[in-house]
Symmetry: C2
Subunit: 179 residues, 2 copies
Amino acid sequence: MKRIAIDMDEVIADFQAKHLTVYNDRFNEALTPEDLHGTRLWTLRPHIAAEVISLVDEPGFFRDLAVMDGSQEVIRELHEHYEIYIVTAAMEHPMSFLSKYEWLREHFPFLSEMNFVFCGDKSIIRADYLIDDTSRHFKGFEGQGILFTAAHNRYETGFVRVDNWQEVRRYFLSQNSAG
Amino acid sequence: MKRIAIDMDEVIADFQAKHLTVYNDRFNEALTPEDLHGTRLWTLRPHIAAEVISLVDEPGFFRDLAVMDGSQEVIRELHEHYEIYIVTAAMEHPMSFLSKYEWLREHFPFLSEMNFVFCGDKSIIRADYLIDDTSRHFKGFEGQGILFTAAHNRYETGFVRVDNWQEVRRYFLSQNSAG
């Protein structure tokens, strides 16, 4: 059975929506998702980048992120044909560990926690596919990288790209439904 | 540069000493390390196995484990010739995440946290070597498994085995010091 590694933030969990809400609230701004096309919130506000990033270190930040549309249904279906691992670069934000774990248990109860991986550098992952919104993780990855479209990566080229979970479904179920 | 994945408990962190101390204290017993030769504490006391295991879920259990003799010096040396990743099966004990992270930052400050991995099933790991006291992790591992001697595994056969960190040093530095 082939193995698919799946990132969390911006792929199954709507990190950006929460970050933008908390940011606007804190700094009395009204930035929209469109303002983040091709960039990151902390790149857009370089003079307060550290503060913008540290918003995610507040207790529970990752606990109530919205689930990305279609991710539960499609992963449940893929799970019948592939080994599914959730692989998140959590080491930069140690305060996120427990929230991320609880979030996964709540929203993806059909996955075993033995298939959750909290890491930093994803070149340590052995899988056939990696679905991720951050293209640098594909560099040391030996399998096929699949870029999941997010505001910040929409102008990047040179990658296999999917725009949403229905496209993930088509990619895997048309290619090789038997894994 | 070749890559060595290194387990935490019973390899760089003295899990057993702490577990035994807490157990004896809680149950008014006087078990010694010798009583655990070829077994585990929860196997030795099957009628209270769940309670014995849950001792490790108390806050901070993993924060003050002793560092295994020689592990810091040898890993610091190996680090010059190999990529070092610390890979721990933490998913069974989510309350351990933050303590394990802080412990690693304190005792192995020369390693990047980008090279820490908290997982369940270690077959997800891509590395050339895995040093571990639990032989079942070698089953799905594609590299060379190296069994680090612990009380519970001392009667297991059929594995490359090292008894301590000086033996790890000899294994790697006589074999291929250039990684």
